[in-house]
């Protein structure tokens, strides 16, 4: 059994009809960071201190090898020694990962694509109790996604899916709650099985944790079931009100005004040594202060601007909130960069540091000098196939 102290959810700001969709600067990793920070309580740094392992669950990762897991760890504000693993799967895999994790684990589930969302649970020694995890492995490959293929192969027969796919799983998992919360199928189907669905739960991995959020407001529910075409996982839930829930979900912005790649194909040059030199400072937002005269530098400088002292200064974490000093929207198509998008110089008081960052999640010309907001991890550019992450400025929205 495990306990969950915090649950965080994230949906992108861009709204396409009834669905949220990623912006061009978002992917599985950036969404995972957003949900993970919400689960840890972005404002409470103590949360991150309790995490020694991160599990990322997703059925459609953007990258299988390379930067993403280290970027995820840095983006979450965790120590570089934090173990991170990637698990391919949907909602049952996410629920199983949460129910079988040791305290000190952050499990993040991401559902990319249409209706994109991410959700994370912080497994700790206190909070909502998940017990008696049960699993039924079952194979009815109604939906098959081959690696590298753009479209899934779908066997379109909803009755076959219900009777041959879901029914054996649900019956195999039958627990004490007569009306379990079921994710992985439409509400209508969940009701046929005597359960109930989760309103507006995203398809895929993140759905499992949106179900747990639902449980925190429904004391009568004691069981959560997650299914897909390969697996069913059920857990018994109690003390649901003891999990802190934080949503990082902003008012929708019409997806039609998203920046777009219009400049044609181009390979943006990459320098691996320069990437490496900047990595920790950039991804962990660590600046440097001169021990002799106190002048701050970001990125670090070999020679202090204030007193000329040579060598490393004292590292310090930059604040993640700031104010726009100047901002311009770039309308001209820049090959490899989605436009129109705004670039801003952002002050980070009380430090003297400013950063250059693109403006995220905001319609054209909406961001103005003096606007306040926060820095969020985003994909800056893809350079010679390598995703280059950094921080974007996300203006506050009137609540």
């Amino acid at each position: 059994m495990t306990r969950i102290s915090g649950i965080g959810t994230y949906r992108p700001a861009w709204e396409d009809g009834n669905y949220r969709v990623f912006g061009p600067d978002e992917d599985v990793i950036t969404a995972a960071v957003a949900a993970g920070r919400a689960a840890l309580g972005d404002s409470a740094p103590g949360g991150a201190a309790e995490v020694s392992r991160v599990v990322l669950v997703c059925a459609e990762p953007d990258y299988l090898e390379g930067a993403p897991l280290p970027v995820l760890v840095r983006g979450l504000g965790l120590d570089a020694s934090t173990a991170a693993e990637f698990r391919v799967g949907g909602a049952p895999a996410a629920l199983d990962a949460a129910a079988s994790a040791r305290p000190g684990t952050l499990v993040v589930a991401v559902s990319p694509g249409r209706g994109a969302a991410a959700a994370a649970v912080h497994v700790a020694d206190r909070g909502m109790l998940l017990s008696e995890p049960r699993t039924v492995a079952h194979s009815l490959p109604m939906r098959v996604v081959a690696t590298g293929s753009a479209e899934p192969s779908v066997y379109a027969d909803s009755r076959a899916e219900r009777e041959l796919g879901w029914r054996p799983i649900i019956e195999g998992l039958a627990g004490e709650d007569a009306k379990p919360l079921i994710v992985g199928m439409p509400d209508k189907e969940a009701r046929r099985f005597g359960g109930r669905g989760v309103e507006r739960a995203p398809a895929g991995a993140a759905g499992a944790f949106f179900a747990l959020v639902d449980v925190t407001t429904r004391p009568e529910v004691t069981e959560v079931v997650a299914v897909d075409s390969a697996l069913g996982v059920a857990v018994t839930v109690s003390d649901a009100d003891q999990a802190r829930v934080e949503h990082d979900i902003r008012p929708g912005v019409p997806a039609a005004s998203r920046p777009r790649h219009v400049g044609g194909d181009v390979v943006i040059p990459m320098s691996m040594p320069s990437y490496d030199r900047a990595f920790e400072q950039k991804l962990s937002l660590v600046a440097s202060r001169c021990p002799q005269c106190g002048v701050e530098a970001y990125p670090r400088r070999e020679r202090c601007l204030g007193c000329g002292r040579m060598g490393d200064g004292e590292p310090f974490a930059l604040p993640r909130t700031g104010e726009v000093y100047s901002v311009v929207t770039v309308f001209a198509p820049v090959p490899g960069i989605a436009t129109p998008r705004a670039l801003a110089v952002v002050s980070l008081p009380p430090t003297s540091v400013r950063v250059l960052a693109h403006v995220a999640d905001t319609a054209v010309n909406e961001c103005q000098i003096g606007d306040r907001g926060r820095l969020v991890l985003r994909l800056i550019a893809v350079r010679e196939g390598v995703p280059d992450y950094g921080y974007a400025f996300q203006p506050e929205v009137a609540s």
Binding site: S274, A278, V327, V328, T329, V330, F331, A332, V334, R383
Partner: protein, 384 residues
Amino acid sequence: MRPVAMVGAGMIPFGELFTTGMKEMLPKAMAAALASVDKGMSASDFQAAWFGNLQPSDGFPAGVLADSCGLLEIPVTRVENQCATGNDAIRNAALAVGSGQVDIALVVGADKTRETSAMSTFWDWMGMARDKAWDFPQGLIAPASFAMHVARFMHEYHVQPEHLAKVAVKNHHNAVTNPMAHLRFEVTVEQVLSAPRVAGPFGMLDCAPQSDGAAAAILVAGELAERFTDHPVWVRGFGLALDRVMHAHKQDMTTFPSTLRAAKQAFGMAGVGPEDIDVAELHDCFSGVELMNYEDLGFCGRGEAAKLIDSGATSVGGRLPVNPSGGLKAKGHPPGATGVAQCVELFEQLRGHAANQVDGARWGLAQNVGGPTAVSAVTILEAN
């Protein structure tokens, strides 16, 4: 330093010169400068040459200049200092002549911005001027880099888009009668304001074109000047200064500190002040940048640039005509050539036969600001 005189200066018309390569542009620019020497001069008279060039084309710059112009017997040095390249090349040549080591020096500036595909140009140029890890992947293209300053400038001093548009209108007007100019057509304030947007407050018509072009000037020791002309122009002052390279490190974006520093050097050397200048060629790569330059050079006080353009003082016929050539905005902007071409215009102004002549001009000033707004050069010339 001994006095340095400019005895010849010429250029080829700027434009999208698809049919003229670097190796054709350079000898044509040199020939234009030689042709302007009143009493004649030949290429074999040069003792050293400096070549201002940002983006090499068809080979390494110094070699291409020496080879295409037949300057194999003399030292040729390439100068690259972003958009301040042209005036920095003149500064280097003037230092050599002033020192007594060189009596007759050639300065050429040239670039072929249209030689690579429009797609790759952005990244090629940003790659030269931006930190590879930090600013480069942000796609901070030149218009955005300057717009960031002008947006803050407009915010602090309540400058209106119309004030920016007036710069474009004025400089386009001047270019119409300049046969060397790239964009020889008038524009109206309304056209500028309604043009497709590029970045921040800049629309298409606020931006200098991407031009190909070359310009050349000939500097000689003062005591030799009368061998070549009775109407030399004197190189009285020059300055070259830098600033923080990354935008996040610029404390006050309503000014270009590199221009303040370069102007202080140049005015100090020439022994004159901004009030003495009769005609100026300023760096108007984007309309609003000309307004900021007025203030940085002391042509008006802080926050008074909008009033100055409104007054008409910087139009030809005004108190201090700025960019009578059409400026970068309309004459064109092949970066390595730009500063040299500004001095070609001043050479003609101070000798009294410019296309848009400023009556009785005695002191002329040329200024560039460039890179990621981190380098400026100022040259001050005086009529004989």
